[in-house]
């Protein structure tokens, strides 16, 4: 490691990764029991990619995400109670029940919203970076998108503009090997998506997406460049999702089960980091305490969601505009 990470930061990484995993396992169970609904894409397995990226950011930096929306805001530091209430469609949800599972967000911690139209976040992130640059502040924007999303035209248009305009933006492609059920190599014509960066005149870096410190190091350097006015970077994290494309989807991802044995057994980002932390001298008790604290947090969030009110019927008509207009039905 070329950079050093404090123990506090490492434990915060572990905490956020664990928070994502427990959030996903709990909400997935609620979904299967019928307490939640909607299209539900979990981030389990991708925690290192998410948290390693987000921890390289400041709270006031911006982040834009995807349909696989749960992990990113948590990684960016959002509190989970309003996220969980959002999954329940409650008034206290972070989006007041209007966004749901594919659209978590928390503008308060720079999470500018997850967008479920694949590839649609890249121009938005590019524009947020343009905004910061014009405002003369030193915020950077990080954009998560999938291997599948990399085939959208918005990828090309965004990277070209970001490079031309030298924008403070980091594009993080979470390559989990599949876009829905289609393996990446059937959808992307080159082995590494990061190699496409050369065509835009920006650095493109492949990193082990299961190793949170490796991701953190690579993204930190990209953030440093962006903040210093040295322009955008494309990072590709090689990762794997532990669940099916979406929970409850009737069709299994072909080949996924076989691959999962290896990934869950040997490449679980939390197990790997747990081991690494111990090698760094962290004691078991500290980690298990974090696990327990997170478990309490998640239970409290579920309770918060359950006891929150449903939104009132008029809420269907609010926030359509910031300056409302009369809506006739």
């Amino acid at each position: 490691m070329a950079i050093t990470v404090s123990e506090t930061d490492m434990l915060e990484m572990y905490r956020r990764m664990t928070r994502i995993r427990q959030f996903e396992e709990t909400t997935q169970a609620l979904l299967l029991k019928g307490e939640l609904y909607g299209s539900f894409h979990t981030s389990s397995g991708q925690e290192a990619s998410i948290v390693g990226s987000c921890m390289a950011l400041r709270t006031d930096d911006y982040m834009v995400g995807t349909h696989r929306s749960h992990g990113h805001p948590i990684g960016k530091g959002a509190k989970i109670d309003r996220l969980l209430a959002e999954l329940m469609g409650k008034e206290t949800g972070i989006n007041q029940g209007k966004g749901g599972s594919m659209h978590l967000s928390d503008f308060g911690v720079g999470s500018l919203g997850e967008t479920s139209i694949v590839g649609s976040g890249l121009p938005v992130a590019t524009g947020a970076a343009l905004g910061s640059k014009m405002q003369g502040n030193d915020r950077v924007t990080l954009c998560f998108f999938g291997d599948g999303a990399s085939s959208q035209g918005t990828f090309h248009e965004s990277l070209n503009m970001a490079s031309l305009w030298n924008l403070p933006v980091i594009y993080v492609c979470e390559n989990n090997g599949f876009g829905e059920l289609t393996p990446t190599h059937e959808a992307v014509s080159v082995p590494d998506i990061a190699s496409r960066a050369a065509g835009y005149g920006m650095p493109g870096i492949v990193v082990d997406g299961q190793d949170v410190l490796a991701v953190y190091e690579v993204v930190s350097e990209a953030v440093r460049r962006a903040r210093a006015g040295e322009g955008p970077t494309l990072v590709e994290t090689k990762t794997f999702r532990f669940d099916n494309h979406s929970i409850g989807m009737p069709v299994e991802t072909p080949g996924h089960a076989e691959m999962l044995v290896h990934w869950r057994g040997n490449r679980c980002p939390i197990d790997l980091f747990d081991r690494a932390l111990k090698e760094f001298g962290c004691d078991e008790v500290t980690l298990r305490e974090i696990d327990a604290q997170v478990a309490d947090e998640v239970s409290a969030a579920v309770e918060f969601g359950r006891t929150s009110p449903e939104p009132p019927p008029e809420a269907a008509f609010t926030h359509l505009y910031t300056n409302p207009i009369r809506i006739d039905s």
Binding site: G97, G99, M102, H103, S151, S329
Partner: protein
Amino acid sequence: MHTVTYLQAINEALREEMDRDERVFIMGEDVGWNLLGATGGLKDRFGTERVRNTPIAEAGFVGAGAGAAMVGMRPVVDMLIAPFVYPAFDQIVSIIAKSTYLYGGQAKMPIVLRAPMLYGAGNAAQHSDRPYPTFMTIPGLKLIAPASPYDAKGMLKAAIRDDDPVICFEDWTLTGLRNEIPDEDYVIELGKAAVKREGSDITIVALAGAVPHALAAGEQLAGEGISAEVIDLRSIVPLDRDTILASVEKTGRLVVADPAHIMGSVASEISAIVAQEGFWSLRAPIIRVATPHTHIPFSATLERPLYPTTEKIVNAAKRAMA
């Protein structure tokens, strides 16, 4: 005769047309995997060339469909969910809708886009659109919205055989429906509405997912002594104005039920046509029962009340009768 669901009807249409004509092929994201339930068995029967998984690149593969159609193929492009047409919008409007005209008839454009509409399912604003009114504003496209398994099969087959671009808006609130359909090949001419129930007091024109509600409303109104004629529009472009005008001439009253947002809806277009061409038959205001001009929220509590229901149609009919 045999009984099929809405999705099975679509599947049969695809299979039979691919059997009949080797120029017909399917492409789209994960079509080979039967992700949403309408393309089952096709990859095994026809192979991965004719049941082609694409990258997530709607403009690219919809436009590729247009190019393939121009050179004599007959692509059926699976949009997975209707709002995913938006990234491909320019290809649909500028290329698919306009090429036949722009090149003075040299280009044929026999392409079908399948656009399943998944609303009412907690998928929120980006995934729940019913965008046929958006496309109604674009000349050069044909638009259909079958509301029964029988129509889904017959109209999709007709669309695949048509030499013009057709967008098939499949309403997935109807996937629970089952119909007896003929075992033999049949097609349903595009542009013909279906009178589903005859009546003399009021005309209810409905489309897509509003059709079962309109039929239930007709039933309920009959119980209250009001004789409603229920028309399933089925085809949006061409629009069967003759059937509608003839019915309104008979009944003098019109309710239009449309699951789309009300502004610029098909319901509005039908109202406008009748207010212009059938005005002298009208004995009451034309009432539109559509989704209000707001986005679709995630929360079921918020989402559920937004769409047309039997009750809303009944109430509208009673207002028109008052």
